[in-house]
Amino acid sequence: MKDEKLCPVLDSKKKTVNKIIDLAISESKKTNKKINLIWLEACGCSGNIISLLNADDPDIIFFLENMVNLTYNNSLMRKEGERAFEVFLKTLETEFILVVEGAISTKENGFYNVIAKYNNKYITGMEAVKMAADKAKYVLSVGSCASYGGPSAARPNPSESISVPDFLDREVIRVPGCPCHPTWIIGTLAHIIYFDKPKLDEENRPVIFYGVTIHDRCERRSYFEKGLFAEKLGEKECMFKLGCRGPITRTVCPTMEWNSRHNWPIGDNTPCIGCAREGFPDSMEPFVRF
């Protein structure tokens, strides 16, 4: 009781987190109906689906069993070939969320990125995304390629790739990152499933995960303020002079951290390369400046 009187902020901090966790748990128990989810990979590297497998609290098993009905994904589904694409077509008849990973290759009518062969006809990534996006309830572009073009659209861009929001005429929620943090994907989807779409910023990113810059919450921020800078990798000071992109990249990496909250790039002595920023990787080069 005495502590509460001394500092009410400290006490409310503990309660706020608990409140949010309790709300998430109670909401997840309330709804029995699972919404269908199509996870479409266009011109990408499968990095985001692999990142999603590393999720915890909730983990991928809970996500698949209790939150969504993942009908189509080229990496995780059991069916293959034409039978797999039939599932995709069947899901289009229902209510579903579309998640796109990878940029849209547009050269030669999208023929640089073929995702299926159905009735002796090649289905391009461009065609499949267009087909699904027309009917989807929500469209999420997960990863930097889908959100901004990313490495797929990097110079010289031989496949003429563009981002999903550029390709589609409808609202697309951007969840960038290379790869995207599993918690950001599941968090955004959970908000959509249990409530509605989350609060978005001017670039259509969820504010809860992309609200502050890495520089704002960086563990080496005090070194920056004092003007102490690392001269080579491995030193403990601020890596700003080595070309850190923390000040222009908005994510919650410093507080959430990666690999089940073990570590993150700056904690591991590498400067931020701005992977969740528009223009990555061309505009973010050089990644380290000596």
């Binding site: 700003f240 080595l242 222009i248 223009g279 973010m284 080069e285």
Partner: protein
């Protein structure tokens, strides 16, 4: 204590307050104020002095690599971007420091003087 609040006495005052403060957070608060003031004064030095003249060759030395300062010229005036948060390692969205970037600046920021006014000036480009 009869202190006249010009910049230097302010520095002394913050140092004094830091010394006599009992609580760590209070000490920290005054230490931060001190460093903020110190930084301001440090850059004011460049403003008050006669501006140095740079040739483009001399300017190219200050490209931000190897911990050097990063200077950039816009409209003939050389600005110090060493502590500008968006210029990590002397680079900014594919641009490198140590050059005259007038056209690039106008291409992206139009004629936003407010950006330039905040930056410390270190010199002018020699014709």
């Amino acid at each position: 204590m009869n202190l006249k609040f010009n910049e230097f006495s302010r520095l002394n005052y913050y140092r004094y307050m830091e010394m006599i403060s009992v609580y760590p957070w209070e000490k920290n608060y005054y230490r931060n104020l001190y460093y903020k003031e110190y930084k301001k004064l440090y850059f004011k030095r460049f403003k008050n002095n006669n501006l140095k003249e740079f040739t483009l060759e001399e300017l190219s030395y200050y490209d931000g690599s190897n911990g050097r300062d990063s200077y950039v010229a816009v409209d003939g005036i050389v600005y110090d971007l060493s502590l500008e948060a968006t210029w990590g390692g002397g680079t900014h969205f594919g641009l490198y420091a140590g050059k005259d970037l007038t056209s690039q600046f106008k291409g992206c920021h139009q004629d936003m003087r407010s950006i330039l006014d905040k930056l410390p000036k270190v010199g002018v480009i020699k014709e």
